[in-house]
């Protein structure tokens, strides 16, 4: 117990301490907490573990596995090869997804930092009202605007190109990210801007040279979140990127799911693992920023 206590004091971070009890009852509650955490983590990670396990088993093992086989014996990478070969275009789909995620991320960072900066650090009439409008737009279901947006792009004959899925990000694709950015930019001391202004820096100079360098954590969160969004954008892909040349991973995997009888569970799970991998890697490197970002996107203000 004493080691736990010292461990506690060493690793103390901000936050309420649910120090569940002390001394005699402490051990019991501590064990109970561990048990609950274990149950929860098992629930959370079980589907993923199952995915990985199935991906590494041979088709025979998957079929027979009675009742449930968790450890692949012997483990095989065969499914990855079969899955990759089942569709000759996987490399293209990965490239498409990465391309889209990168280009639209640039647009998103461009628009949300500029706009967030204006809302957070500049004075103009109607600022509060427009922010309220932004918050209202956060709550607007995308399906309300979906059809006319499509018709706009159809009218200029750009459906099936990259334009409809990139241009909006340079303007305003996500009021949520504008809000996030504004919350973050408000935390940067105004004195920095004032000092730069006295030194003769104009507003854009302040934005570019003083504020943006301090905004990297928020930008990291935004990009990581957006990459995930791109990997998950089923509706957008279905409407604008259906053709083979622009196909995204989610549609490719959907095709696999539909043909699971032909493809087999092993290769399907193997490709699911491959599709998931880039996003998980991105998150792994970004995770320390996340809690911070969510505190900021919190409810005050």
């Amino acid at each position: 117990m004493s080691t736990t206590m010292t461990g506690d004091t060493v690793s103390t971070s901000v936050g309420p301490r649910f120090r569940l009890g002390r001394k005699a009852s402490g051990r019991v509650t501590n064990a109970l907490a561990y048990l609950c955490i274990l149950i929860f983590l098992t629930m959370a990670l079980l589907p993923m573990a199952w995915m990985l396990s199935t991906a590494l088993q041979t088709e025979d093992q998957i079929r027979i596995s009675a009742p449930v086989q968790w450890i692949p014996k012997p483990a095989t990478l065969e499914n990855f090869v079969t899955g990759w070969k089942a569709d000759s275009n996987w490399l293209l789909y990965f490239r498409n997804n990465v391309y889209w995620a990168l280009v639209s991320s640039v647009g998103l960072v461009f628009s949300s930092t500029l706009v967030g900066y204006a809302f957070a650090r500049m004075q103009f009439p109607g600022r509060e009202a427009l922010m309220l409008l932004n918050i209202a737009l956060m709550l607007l279901p995308g399906q309300v605007t979906m059809i006319p947006r499509f018709l706009i792009w159809a009218r200029v004959d750009l459906v099936g190109t990259w334009w409809p899925v990139t241009i909006p990000f340079f303007l305003l694709a996500s009021p949520y990210y504008v809000f996030l950015m504004r919350q973050f930019l408000r935390t940067i001391p105004m004195e920095l801007s004032d000092a730069a202004r006295i030194d003769g820096c104009n507003e854009f100079g302040i934005f570019w040279r003083i504020v943006i360098p301090l905004t990297k954590p928020a930008i990291a969160v935004l990009v990581a979140g957006h990459i995930t969004w791109c990997w998950n954008a089923l509706l957008t892909s279905l409407i604008y990127l259906k053709d083979n040349q622009h196909r995204q991973l989610i549609l490719a995997l959907r095709g696999f799911i539909g043909e699971r009888a032909r493809v087999g569970w092993g290769p399907l799970m193997a490709m699911s693992v491959l599709v998931a991998l880039p996003v998980i890697v991105v998150y792994f490197f970004m995770q320390r920023y996340f809690i911070q970002a969510f505190i900021l996107s919190g409810m005050k203000g």
């Binding site: 993923m48 799911i257 699971r260 996340f290 809690i291 969510f294």
Partner: protein, 305 residues
């Protein structure tokens, strides 16, 4: 005369000065202004316009009055999609939020390895929907999915799950509760509760459940409000999982509002009919948001700053 002219000149002068003063701000804001007008204001109005028209994209839109709206109540598939969505919203959302809340509390308990637990707990949220859909499909496959194999081993009768038109919607509700939602926001909320409050409560002899109900819960109400709003709006648009796993089947048992709207528009090319559905969705969401905000004054605690 001269004086009025001078005053007018002064006024335009100040206006010009005002414009010069606010010009940078509006330049910074210009992407947002264009974006809001082109991708929000116009589409919302245009959707209303189309909802009173018959429009298949190829031929020009034809005014048909309220016919699209009148058609909705009699549309069996629309009714089912609406019913499924309301079930998902009313059971799935509160269930998932409760789960997310529990998860956040567990991850906030000071135990050894907390950092590791938090990292692991973040992983499921990062798995792409398509991959998650594939593995869930494997788990609840009627024949020999994981769940049925476990059931068989336990001597329970196996179920048809996603092959059963009545059970299938519950599979989706159960999935979202199993994952939980809003954990990160709850966790951030928990960390923002001032430590002094717990200390003061402890000094006053409050047991842990007192501390939970009189300190934690009231301080968490803003997070709950935020997650509730986001969760409800998200649930009304629920689309990807059923689209990937069952395509709404069997016999419409897992068709949700979002999918029916999508199919009306982009498979049957009934843009007018789909726009009417979009506006119904808009109105429902607006009412829900309004009611929650109205009630929030009574149950959300805002710290006086």
């Amino acid at each position: 005369m001269e004086r009025t002219l001078a005053r007018a000149g002064e006024r335009t002068g100040t206006r010009r000065r005002q414009i010069a003063k606010y010009l940078p701000a509006f330049l910074f804001l210009s992407p947002w202004i264009i974006g809001v007008l082109v991708f929000y204001v116009y589409p919302i109005c245009a959707a209303l316009y189309y909802s009173f028209h018959q429009y298949d994209v190829l031929r020009p839109a034809r005014w048909i009055g309220w016919a699209n709206y009148q058609r909705l109540p009699g549309d069996r598939y629309f009714r089912q999609a609406l019913k499924n969505t309301l079930l998902y919203v009313s059971v799935g959302v509160p269930g998932a939020l409760l789960m997310g809340f529990l998860q956040a509390i567990l991850l906030n308990v000071k135990v050894r390895g907390q950092q590791l637990f938090r990292t692991l707990a973040l992983v499921p949220g990062t798995v792409p929907i398509a991959a998650a859909a594939a593995v869930w499909l494997n788990i609840v496959t009627p024949g020999s999915g994981l769940v049925n194999n476990v059931f068989r081993a336990l001597g329970l009768s196996t179920q048809k799950w996603i092959a059963d038109p009545h059970a299938v919607k519950w599979v989706f509700v159960g999935m979202s509760i199993w994952w939980g939602s809003g954990m990160l926001v709850f966790l951030a909320g928990l960390q923002a509760v001032p430590l002094e409050l717990y200390e003061a409560a402890e000094v006053d002899g409050a047991r842990w459940y007192h501390r939970f109900f009189y300190v934690t819960l009231p301080m968490m109400t803003p997070s709950i409000l935020f997650n509730l709003l986001m969760g409800l709006i998200g649930a009304f648009q629920y689309f990807a999982f059923p689209m990937l796993m069952t395509e709404g089947g069997p016999v419409g048992g897992s068709t949700f509002f979002g999918q029916y709207l999508y199919e009306s528009a982009f498979e049957f090319w009934q843009m007018g009919y789909a726009s009417a559905q979009a506006w119904i969705l808009f109105v429902i969401c607006a009412i829900v948001v309004f009611l929650i905000f109205r009630s929030s004054a009574r149950w959300v605690y805002y710290e006086a700053e």
